[in-house]
Symmetry: C2
Subunit: 355 residues, 2 copies
Amino acid sequence: MFESKDPQKTSLESLGEFGLIQHLTQAFEIKKPSTLLGIGDDAALMNFGGEDVALTTDMLVEGVHFDLGYTPLKHLGYKAVVVNLSDIYAMNMEPTQLTVSLAVSNRFGLEALEELYAGIYHAAEHYGVDVVGGDTTSSTSGLVISITAIGIAGAIEAVKRSGARPNDLLVVSGDLGAAYLGLQILRREQEVFKVNPQHQPDLEPYSYLVERQLKPEARKDIVGLLAELGVKPTAMIDISDGLSSEILHLCTASRVGCSLYEEKIPLDPTMIGAAEEFNMEVSTVALSGGEDYELLFTISPDDYPKIKGNPNLTVIGHMTDEASGAQLITRTSQSMPLTARGWNSFRQPAGGQND
Amino acid sequence: MFESKDPQKTSLESLGEFGLIQHLTQAFEIKKPSTLLGIGDDAALMNFGGEDVALTTDMLVEGVHFDLGYTPLKHLGYKAVVVNLSDIYAMNMEPTQLTVSLAVSNRFGLEALEELYAGIYHAAEHYGVDVVGGDTTSSTSGLVISITAIGIAGAIEAVKRSGARPNDLLVVSGDLGAAYLGLQILRREQEVFKVNPQHQPDLEPYSYLVERQLKPEARKDIVGLLAELGVKPTAMIDISDGLSSEILHLCTASRVGCSLYEEKIPLDPTMIGAAEEFNMEVSTVALSGGEDYELLFTISPDDYPKIKGNPNLTVIGHMTDEASGAQLITRTSQSMPLTARGWNSFRQPAGGQND
């Protein structure tokens, strides 16, 4: 009958997540006058009644983006909201509404869903966002969460990925790599637990790292801070896949190059300690770890005095002309091309990563 | 460790889909001034810059909402868009943008996704909607499609479920029950095919029914027609779960009762023939079949002359006071309470139904 005779000629893995989306959506054209920006930024941008409105969506799949073996459902609900709000903040905008769709297998009872929703509720409360709709359905296996967030521009208008210019400074909020190491710690404890179920993990020394993984926050405060300081970034993106991958997105969208200084990348001391414990190179973790949900943005050099010395912000490099490409300047002052080692859900095993 | 110790005290099945959503979201409050209408209608309603904006989302899960054994991927993509647009039209609004999120297992190759996206593309073209974003990720099993649609109010403002008044006329577009019988026919052919793979199905006599199931259309034309006729419905909903269930939603939201006349329910001759073949009662199919994606609405009796005789619209009853309840007036003029026999994804086996 209609059975799909899928020739499986091309595997999804070979294209990667970005390549796949690009390939599948290349035929789509923007026709509505209300659409300002389509696929390719942290959020789409529309204009309704003269007001800029952002729209973004993220889907989290059990066994791909999260493992319930070490992810409490309440934290999962919270994080599922946060990853979407982070995309709105990455447009320098304020999230206002969201919808939540769930597919759940019969392995979940009502109490489990109540836990998940408690996390969603707390995130919505914390960020002041209304949950205005959704869909709850059964699934044949596992849990799938699809959240869509809407936001509006505040006093300062929307910031896209495409506005960076040569000589702009490259700035990042917070510190990087902690969420990835938090995941490694949770996985290690899970392995120990499998061998010895009596094992009581002492996660106290790693509490910062574990919290960055399980209950990340979106940088609402940075958007507020920038408005306060009177700084409008020229381009912005959130760090979900890893610093190197996000820098390359900014460079591509803005058609510029960049010089990133390895020694400037902000790292938390517990992150450095844990990286050593796992025998990992700190810069590699910071560049490729992902899930930090910090904001990465570029500002005009004229705005430097306004952000100088702010403990929440670190200048990690500057943009260059396109021909110079994206370069990592190592601690030994060597220049090497920056390569994306961000996450690809079609390649890696079940983890705790979001797009 | 953090393994969810789910006591499974309450099964999701016992609550049903509507009860579950209501239970899980009862704590959510609307706080943003831009939110006009939250959970509980076909779409949420916001106001940005003085313009009403609708937001709706639907998740379709393989093995629950569709069976790829008889659903071509291109049709699935088309239908996934249509079910969302139908929710926007049910607000008397015009869809403008949508996002598409997919979770796909490695059983799907690129060519399969291209087929799915071809359907999405055709639907977006046909309805004049921009695809502005989405997410594509891997899944551990099966295919999950989550689509979110946004729409704006046209010349006539948004219509909610809650505005029906006693004496308003109850009107439906098109005819009912055909999609459900189309599904029965596809399933029957699939069973025959399993026994005899050489079997060549002759679906020609059932083409209308099969098309209603596999490639439904959203009633964009009805929203246009109503504007042309100068009719603003007092309440509106789309028929995704079955006529009786949708009428009860209108009655509950509007706090009214209704009298539905069985003999007035519009039926296509091929639907009547197929119902007889399957030994099913035509009215039961029309009342509970679902997936017709027709529009059900109420109008002031004063507007009756404007719609009288229109071949696209049928008056099937009228609203009454709340105390009278929702009544079905049978062909033998007996009055019986109307009961919801709509679809519940937590109760029924894999089908082809959407919420």
